[in-house]
């Protein structure tokens, strides 16, 4: 782990080889063409920060750029920052910016825009960036292409905060002094990305064209990029099948359609590219509901479900079974301690007996209400499987259905018994895992520790991992916390999710980094 971090920090500039440095030799054969793909659901606004939904990141990732990208192993790679370094006291980060970077309105991008974006724009707007960028106590620009950020205390995962979806660099001359959420530019976004916004017909399509002053010489290769809004999953599958679109990503295609597309000779299915998000799905337990506060009951539920069945039969092997609270692609995952209850209904029954929950005349030990996640067919099937699996050990599950608005509201209000949830981990447990388990984050807001699990030792370990500057110390704390959580199962972790990217085989360079299809597409070309 330590090696990985240091290599990312110090030798960052050496990785520049990943950014094509000699475009002249290749451009002629790669240049041209229009890529038509899908966006679903339709995002409300295309400025990251003002809106941070998944589809927004996907489309706006072509218009905006962050300072860094990340390799599949989460090592930082240069994007708007050409190189970077960290001071010996691990508090001061220096970023050297790329030269000749222009916004789509022709204004040059400078260190001022970067500092504005980090310390003003995203700190004001983004709940994820806010607590971390608030650690910045000094932000200076020794020259227009250098940014120096000084933190109050060392913060090891700091460099994971600079991808486009977390910290897109926005034009200061347009946003400074305005209400960011209602700025007219939000309707006609201006960034530094390889593509420039042209037109958005709501409910129909978003059209972008290659930016002719893009800072990477010769890129982007594509002339145009079109996102079609197709709300129905079967219509999306048909659009891909008939070649009306040449690329699908995220949740465009339902898992049960994937085997069919794997067989089509002109298409390629890729599963890489979600390492930064590393979403983990789980059955969300409300610890205030008896008997879910009993660790034996939670372990019994863990024994009752078959994760391999969920992966292979519901998700058609897209993704893999969870082994603990930290996804295997996230930093500090410890395979030695991350071990969950095996699928063993008899053990589940024994644990429930031990907890004093004997079956009644109908064979029912107790009844819980599962609030199904309204995010499409496969999530409904998951809740149905949950009902069956728990029914086999004597737990009666009653399914409740709802829509997305009511779901978010009820989770935020702790108004549920069990539900399904999935959260991104953003590369480091301090950034994306801690929030679901520490007692200081038990809040009436979605995506906090809504379950209400509380263990002082867990709080302590997460705190020390957050504050320690030595990655080895952090690794030790995270290993300990994984061992405790796997034993106490505050949530029933199910799967490390992956999302299929399906592309025409003639389309290249789509998935290059841990940002997958969210990345900029400057390098994407048709054969």
């Amino acid at each position: 782990m330590e090696k990985l971090t240091r290599r990312g920090l110090i030798a960052g500039a050496a990785v520049t080889g990943l950014v094509p440095a000699s475009p002249f030799a290749q451009t002629s054969s790669k240049r041209g063409g229009t890529l038509t793909t899908i966006l679903t659901p339709e995002p409300p606004i295309l400025v990251l920060g003002v809106n941070n939904q998944g589809p927004t990141a996907l489309a706006a990732g072509k218009l905006f750029q962050g300072l860094l990208e990340y390799s599949f192993k989460l090592e930082p790679m240069p994007l708007l920052a050409k190189s970077w370094s960290l001071s010996d006291d691990k508090r001061t980060y220096t970023f050297n910016l790329q030269e000749n970077v222009k916004f789509h309105d022709g204004h040059p991008m400078t260190a001022d825009d970067v500092i504005f974006s980090i310390t003003k724009f995203h700190t004001e707007l983004s709940p994820r960036a806010r607590p971390i960028f608030n650690k910045i106590k000094g932000a200076t620009t020794p020259d227009p292409l250098t940014v120096v950020l000084t933190l109050d205390t060392p913060f090891d995962p700091f460099l994971l905060m600079f991808d486009t979806s977390t910290c897109a660099i926005v034009p200061k001359h347009i946003y400074a002094g305005t209400d960011y959420r209602t700025n007219p530019n939000n309707q006609k976004p201006i960034g530094t990305g390889p593509f420039q916004f042209v037109e958005w017909q709501r409910g129909n399509f978003i059209r972008m064209k290659g930016f002719d002053q893009y800072w990477v010489e010769g890129q982007p290769y594509l002339d145009e990029l079109i996102y079609r809004i197709i709300p129905d999953s079967q219509s999306r599958a048909l659009a891909l099948q008939t070649g009306q679109v040449q690329l699908t990503q995220a949740n465009d295609i339902e898992p049960f359609d994937i085997p069919r597309f794997r067989k089509m000779p002109n298409l390629e299915v890729e599963l890489q590219g979600w390492e930064y998000a590393s979403q983990l799905s789980w059955i969300e337990l409300n610890h205030r509901v008896k008997p879910l506060d009993d660790v034996r009951v939670r372990q019994a539920i863990g024994h009752a479900i078959d994760r391999n069945f969920i992966v292979s039969k519901l998700w058609f092997s897209i993704g893999k079974a969870a082994t603990g609270p930290i996804a295997s692609t996230t930093r500090f995952y410890d395979p030695q301690v991350a071990k969950l209850q095996s699928h063993d209904p008899n053990k589940a029954k024994a644990l429930l007996d031990a907890a004093g929950l004997k079956p009644n005349a109908r064979g029912v030990r107790f009844t819980i209400r599962q609030l199904a996640l309204p995010y499409g067919e496969v999530w409904t099937r998951l809740s149905e499987y949950f009902r069956t699996a728990l029914g086999q050990v004597g737990i009666e599950v009653v399914l409740e259905t709802t829509d997305a608005g009511a779901w978010a509201k009820r989770i935020g209000d702790w108004d549920y018994e069990t539900s399904t949830n999935f959260l991104s981990q953003y590369g480091d447990p301090t950034l994306g895992v801690e929030r679901s388990y520490v007692s200081s984050n038990i809040k009436k807001i979605t995506f906090t520790n809504t379950g209400g699990y509380s263990n002082p030792r867990v709080d302590e370990l997460f705190a020390s991992a957050r504050e320690a500057e030595d990655p080895a110390v952090r690794a030790k704390a995270f290993s300990d916390v994984q061992a405790i959580l796997c034993e106490e199962v505050p949530q029933i972790w199910l799967m490390e999710l992956a999302w299929p990217t399906i592309r025409d085989k003639k389309l290249h360079n789509v998935i290059r980094t841990a940002m997958g299809p969210n990345a900029g597409f400057g390098q994407v070309y048709f054969e």
Binding site: R202, T242, A404
Partner: protein, 325 residues
């Protein structure tokens, strides 16, 4: 004339009252749904904190008491301002005007197709009642009446887009082709055929059944026998005596349907990715984008009321007896 003007004034007053009542009811109904736009946005963003929720609610005006919100909304509506979309930060009126033409094009094509094909088929069936043509038409009408719309749509797509590769399977026009003039019309037309047929087939079936039943009933009445005894040619009897009298229930139903069609068809717009107003309303409902939803409801209810008025006028035109009543 004075009586007519009086009637019209009364009618318009009624319309205004109905529309205001609709606006208030919708406002209250929508706010009864659990969740608000801020919680939806937080849910979709994968991260949230108290500051974000407070920012959003203040921006949307949701931090004020409900009665105040209603008063503000009604005040704006009376000035002809439908407000801003919470999510998109754009004027609701603009959003609706952007999407309404697509819906009107689709639904009126479907409507015209349904009426013309339905009445023709119904008339044909009633003339050949009990024979093979009647059986075929009746069975087909029943089948289309009973089959879910989205399934018919997907089957049409499979046949005409996937296997025969004749028509595009989604959207309203070829994006980026920049067609103009005739080419643009043909392009939209090609995109229009599948959704219009899908949407129209159900109503066609209804009209066919309605026309057939109504014509059979009229055909057995005395004045038809009299006409036949007078020696009026069979074709003329059918057109002037039977069909014209049989059309009244069809018009009643068409009036209702025209009103419904304004709201768009969420199902067909979804399956064919048709950028209409039905989909706008549906997405706004899921997102709790109150202003947009209210705007769409208000807009469509005004149109429905107008269509009812139009239907009443049509009665008078077709059947002079209605005027007396």
């Amino acid at each position: 004339v004075i009586r007519l003007a009086h009637l019209a004034a009364e009618r318009i007053l009624k319309i205004v009252a109905v529309v205001i009542a609709i606006a208030v009811t919708n406002f209250l109904l929508i706010h009864m749904a659990p969740g608000d736009p801020a919680s939806v946005i937080a849910g979709e963003s994968g991260a949230a904190d108290a500051q974000l929720m407070a920012q959003l609610r203040a921006q949307f005006g949701l931090d004020k008491p409900l009665a105040t919100q209603l008063a503000i909304y009604l005040g704006h509506v009376l000035q002809g301002d439908l407000g801003m979309s919470f999510r998109q930060g754009r004027p609701v009126a603009g959003l609706i005007m952007e999407r309404l033409p697509a819906t009107l094009l689709l639904t009126f094509t479907a409507f015209a197709f349904a009426i013309s094909a339905g009445v023709t088929l119904g008339a044909m069936a009633s003339r050949r009642v009990g024979r093979i043509a009647d059986s075929i038409i009746t069975v087909l009408a029943l089948a289309f009446y009973a089959t879910p719309l989205f399934w018919v749509g997907l089957m049409l797509v499979l046949l005409l887009s996937v296997w025969l590769e004749l028509l595009p399977s989604f959207g309203m026009a070829t994006v980026g082709a920049n067609y103009t003039g005739w080419a643009a019309i043909v392009d939209v037309g090609e995109h229009l055929i599948l959704p219009a047929i899908t949407l129209g087939l159900f109503y066609m079936a209804v009209y066919a059944r309605l026309t057939r039943a109504s014509m059979l009933e009229v055909a057995s009445q005395d004045f038809v026998r009299t006409a036949r005894a007078k020696g009026v040619p069979e074709g003329r009897i059918l057109r002037r005596h039977i069909l014209r009298n049989a059309l009244l229930p069809v018009i009643t139903f068409a009036g209702i349907q025209a009103g419904q069609l304004i709201g768009g068809s969420v199902l067909v717009e979804t399956v064919f990715a048709w950028p209409g107003i039905g989909r706008l309303a549906f997405d706004a409902l899921l997102a709790r984008d109150y202003q947009v939803l209210l705007g769409v409801f208000l807009c469509t209810s005004v149109l429905v009321v107008l269509f009812n008025l139009l239907t009443d006028l049509l009665y008078v035109l077709i059947d002079p007896r209605v005027r007396a009543a």
